[in-house]
């Protein structure tokens, strides 16, 4: 298979670009033939600190194939790596404010959607996908100008203000393992996968529910430069699209 891959992102309005807490991987993909593509979007929780580090670790590990198990059993190892990164950051800061250490002790939280596309043997024009998700980052598969599949949330009404998220420091009270969901299906040449953090995913589904085609607006940006995407997002916020970090991976499979 070949993929036409593009990534778009924008920090929330009123924040600095450095405060963008979503993450995605890979950053780019060339269009050479391949048998597999793994990609991920994570959305670090605003209410936790060092969630940017956590979100980046999650997508990087998933995209590189080191976060593989269906129930994400590698998470404790990742969590310990996150804790080491944070401890090093705190140790470097001799004048760290009193609140940083107790905040870090609470851990970081993130939503994650990971998508893997693979070839079917002896066929270039179709294949399979699997996906794992926790939280409200989603993908939508579009075929022949119609939405085919949305996962893990299938409607805009399913988005809530407080989704269950992946913790970097799970406690006995964290009930995330049972909330991890999986999906599997088929792709065929010409399908497009839109992998999105929650604000854009919720907008996408709500527009599609009205019988409109939100992917057409997005596809225009794939042909334009990134600044068009950013201007368009700001025009939608905060009425049509909630003010949040926004991330989009657009993957056309051929």
């Amino acid at each position: 298979m070949r993929v036409d891959f593009a990534a778009f992102w924008l920090h929330k309005d009123g924040a600095e670009p450095s405060q963008y807490e979503d993450a995605f991987a890979p950053a780019c993909v060339d269009d050479r033939p391949r048998t597999r593509l793994r990609c991920a979007v994570a959305d670090g929780a605003t209410e936790s600190a060092y969630s940017r580090i956590w979100a980046r670790q999650l997508v990087s590990e998933f995209a590189s194939g080191r976060l593989t198990a269906p129930d994400l059993t590698e998470l404790p190892l990742l969590g310990r790596r996150w804790a080491r990164s944070v401890a090093q950051a705190l140790a470097r800061n001799e004048s760290a404010a009193w609140y940083l250490e107790p905040k870090a002790a609470d851990g970081a939280f993130a939503a994650l959607i990971g998508l893997e596309l693979t070839n079917v043997a002896h066929a270039d024009d179709r294949g399979a996908y699997t996906a794992v998700a926790l939280g409200d980052s989603c993908f939508v598969q579009v075929r022949e100008d119609r939405p085919l599949r949305a996962f893990p949330l299938g409607s805009s009404a399913a988005f809530s203000a407080r989704p269950i998220l992946l913790p970097s420091r799970p406690t006995a009270a964290d009930n995330f393992a049972g909330a991890i969901s999986h999906d599997a299906g088929q792709w065929q040449s010409g399908d497009t996968f839109y992998v999105m953090s929650d604000a854009l995913a919720c907008w996408f589904l709500s527009v599609a529910e009205r019988g409109e085609r939100p992917w057409r607006a997005i596809d225009q940006f794939a042909r334009a430069d990134r600044s068009g995407f950013r201007k368009w997002i700001r025009l939608q916020q905060p009425t049509a699209l909630k003010n949040d970090d926004v991330t989009l991976l657009r993957i056309v499979v051929r």
Binding site: K12, G14, A97, P102, K103, P238
Partner: protein
Amino acid sequence: MPYAGEISRKNPSCFLFIVDHSASMEDPFASGTKRKCDGLAEVLNRFLYELAIKCAKEEGIRNYYDVGVIGYGATVESAFTGKLAARSLVPIADVANNPMRLDERPKETVTSSGEAVRRIVRVPVWFDPVAAGGTPMVKAFGLAASVLRGWIDAHPDAYPPAVVHITDGESTDGDPTVAMRGVTQMHTSDGNVLLFNVHISSDPHGKVLKFPSSADGLPDAYARMLYASSSYLTPFMCATARAQGLDVGDEAKGFVLNADLNLLVAALDIGTRASNPLR
């Protein structure tokens, strides 16, 4: 739908505490020997500690809230001291970065290998106990109204301020009904100011009421006044209260009577909850 506004750095919200510093706060809670003034100072310090941590990010504190604490007793004024002295509403970053002092306290933690480690942690303190003078509740609410008026004028579309009034006794400067109504009639475009009356008590025989939905069963005119002046809990606050095991109706009011320290903590937690996460 009211009380659905975003709380963000662009659209901060506000917590205002009105706390009784009268001489009777020297008496202990009905359950135990802890003085009410000590319990109140502990609870306020703990609340600000947790609010600061909630708003903390690796780069510092984000100003999601402005916070004020009016103490009333021998004087009626901002209870902040030190660098924050006399300030009526203070952005949470300034609050977090300017405690009156940082105490060092031992804390035991367990490492990932199961080893218990004892170390010293820094704990901020903003308030020491105060118990002196009468209970000038009307004057305190008058000051609260002027503070809130300025804030609402500057933040007309914000998630509405939550006012938490903590007292152990009756007003000594007149009926506060009108002054309380003056506060709850203020509003932003997202709803009216929310007022929670938390009555704490030294009376071991006092009837304990938790977020009642009607005035039935209130023991006296004073309790009925506090009940009538209190705001209804938002649906999210009702859900939070139920999650804490409290039996509250859909029309529950932000009022508790004869609270002990645990109920005071629960009331603060419930009364300061917003449905939307911080942005």
